[in-house]
Symmetry: D2
Subunit: 258 residues, 4 copies
Amino acid sequence: EDVQGRTDPRRLAINKVGICDIRHPVSIAQRVGGHQSTVATFAMYVNLPHEFKGTHMSRFVEILNAHEQQITPDSFQLMLEEMAERLEANNGHIEMYFPYFVDKYAPVTGEKGVMDYEVGFIGDRVDGVSTLYVEVQVPVTTLCPCSKDISDYGAHNQRSLVTIRVRADAFFWAEELIDIAESEGSCELYGVLKRIDEKAVTERAYENPKFVEDVVRDIATRLNDDDRFRSYRVTSENFESIHNHSAYAMIEHDKDAE
Amino acid sequence: EDVQGRTDPRRLAINKVGICDIRHPVSIAQRVGGHQSTVATFAMYVNLPHEFKGTHMSRFVEILNAHEQQITPDSFQLMLEEMAERLEANNGHIEMYFPYFVDKYAPVTGEKGVMDYEVGFIGDRVDGVSTLYVEVQVPVTTLCPCSKDISDYGAHNQRSLVTIRVRADAFFWAEELIDIAESEGSCELYGVLKRIDEKAVTERAYENPKFVEDVVRDIATRLNDDDRFRSYRVTSENFESIHNHSAYAMIEHDKDAE
Amino acid sequence: EDVQGRTDPRRLAINKVGICDIRHPVSIAQRVGGHQSTVATFAMYVNLPHEFKGTHMSRFVEILNAHEQQITPDSFQLMLEEMAERLEANNGHIEMYFPYFVDKYAPVTGEKGVMDYEVGFIGDRVDGVSTLYVEVQVPVTTLCPCSKDISDYGAHNQRSLVTIRVRADAFFWAEELIDIAESEGSCELYGVLKRIDEKAVTERAYENPKFVEDVVRDIATRLNDDDRFRSYRVTSENFESIHNHSAYAMIEHDKDAE
Amino acid sequence: EDVQGRTDPRRLAINKVGICDIRHPVSIAQRVGGHQSTVATFAMYVNLPHEFKGTHMSRFVEILNAHEQQITPDSFQLMLEEMAERLEANNGHIEMYFPYFVDKYAPVTGEKGVMDYEVGFIGDRVDGVSTLYVEVQVPVTTLCPCSKDISDYGAHNQRSLVTIRVRADAFFWAEELIDIAESEGSCELYGVLKRIDEKAVTERAYENPKFVEDVVRDIATRLNDDDRFRSYRVTSENFESIHNHSAYAMIEHDKDAE
């Protein structure tokens, strides 16, 4: 008889129980076609009713092993359903975060490079209803409008990390969120830049100064304009080049709660 | 004229804007009397109405500089209020996390050691009303009930990190939450243990096997029994000694939402 | 004319210059045959003679892009040579660290799971001569001999991280180093364990108590006995289950320096 | 009888054994006078001759507890000696890293802010002879000479982390190394900057473009010119604002090995 299966007398249900900090190889469907291989870090939880002493931890790993190939938003939701079923739970939660690589071409020479982004799929299942969130973390350049405005020449700029998390009611690619983030910084980042490309990105950033406040507002405007996206949370964190701390802004909005 | 002070045409309010990842020396009031010096990492945010282009980032740092000495839950709430006032904001948020040191005596020999815990004060101000959360992160030993039950001898055990975050309506010490966490693991950790102490903690853990589910339930029971604590979130994460991933459980509850 | 190509007047050679913290998809040859896809973090440096103002940073990325497929120790050394050549440097250094996954079967039921290890290839080229180091980071269980000896029952145990870095003069698989590390802990870790497996690993650890000192000595003995390994550095770090700090031991040895 | 004290038959000496990842409050002597309270993370090791099975882990913690107050380079070396003595070891090694805070005044308005730096004391004792290394990690601004040169306006810049580690044969303050690092970037960082200060730092950085290569060379020149510093290792890592990777350079030199 399993210790886990015993009756528990404390009359306290557990909101989430399961495993986390587990790495697994995965294969992700790409907008350009085909799949790319990468490595994801998972967290997998279910709820536990008050009458049970413990959950069955090894089943989580077994579900993960059975689903490692070719993950799409659809197959991710199937994994979430199967987890809830096999653990006999009403509620479930799966998070997977992974580096995601996209070929990117330098703006003038067109030289091919690779950019890496952190992408997350977050699935929540409550009373049998699943909700999927997709998150992208996108580094961009931000150039300070105030610094440009007051200085005779130059303007401080830096790498900023933009994070967008959305809930949608129609299909979209993570690459679409990456495109939005990259087009709304002062400039975007590249894997490879030749001299003439570096001139282009330097001048583009200078022509396009943005506070963290501007970045999150411009991205929110883009997400507001697209009906597929039903709720979002957008942050921008500047690793300031003139301070040893970060500047930060966040907008969140749920269109269906209006 | 400040660029930040200009009128913004996008009609989008910002939920949080400010600074983060900033370290500052602080002095924390202790249950044993006096204060201890440590180093905190802060995040400080306010909301920004839609009509303003930007916030005044340097004011956050000035507020931090003015408040570095002798932080208590009360003075922390004053800092939150002052921040909202000086930034002319309805809403504000301050988080500070710091290592906190407590003298601790070995269970048999009584030899004095020091334990370090991560403690957080989290203040939320919404429409002029402040709410304070206190968080403690407490390492404990957990010994697996299943492993003990099925094995002829021994039982796998490991360090587990317990996190308790509470909202209260009366004064309490962070040390009280640490005590609760330490008394509800299989055993507690110590800075210094002599041979005879090591025997005591080894046997205590073996006599007291607990799953992560047990740890969070036993802590939740303690918090339910204390009327000062109005809401809580308790997690336990086992850095499993037989797996390369963690086992995790979480209970959250708001007594005032019942 | 490139700024980097200008003559530098300071008469100071630079030991290492290049790029780091760059992630790239890679494919690694496996002992079981075939290749596995994973993600590596690279650092790539060359020396810079005193007369040049700067190096050509974009070339490092181009070399990385050209070599992403199917890395073996041999092809890794080719990348090191090509980097030195294209940067016109006498000395070069490449490090790549990546999660590496190995199928592993539970000790009694034989149920298949997956274990992840961190593996590194480190190449040093000095005056045209390349040296390759391979590093594996392997989590194991350690059970304290003192705790077992003095206690009436039980013994504290925990996850320990073993790191082995070797220089060899003949081919070997990273999996061979992983095998050595796993067989010299108190017990090894698994991805999936059923009840009867958990009994087996619990009892094996209890029968096989080891200090960090024992772990590094037993691994060093194994490496001393294999003539392919010419130098090594072995560490073991216990994430102690009874303390909030780690216990650590390290042995390093160069057979060719004897 | 202690298990650790038994005779070991493997005939393998251990280079380093002890504890690490242990945090402790410390008090550090300041150039401006007095001491500042902060929190250090320690590693403490000794060698272990082949004939002993294990070391006495609890003694390391006892030594740490006895020395927590008012650490100077001198008292740090005493702790190193005492550790070697109490553990009956010929060799010893102590590392302590801590955030260190220095008041800093904005360049035009003189407004007072605080900067935080990571500082390390590293002591090595070999056959009874102690050597002390001091390390500072100093964030600075770097502005790209190439980007400035080729662009009609603007220039990409970013936060860069400069690390200096030295061995000296006469007294110096860690603050002196911080001064050198800050004066050899394109510009230095500040805790608080008003508008007119931000103009000053923006223009100073633009007037003073530097590659990572320039930064390490200019710092090396300063260290070469000061006879107290006998050996050094200087690195600069740019968190590039136009790439998602870092640019890196390093110079190391031992004057006494010339």
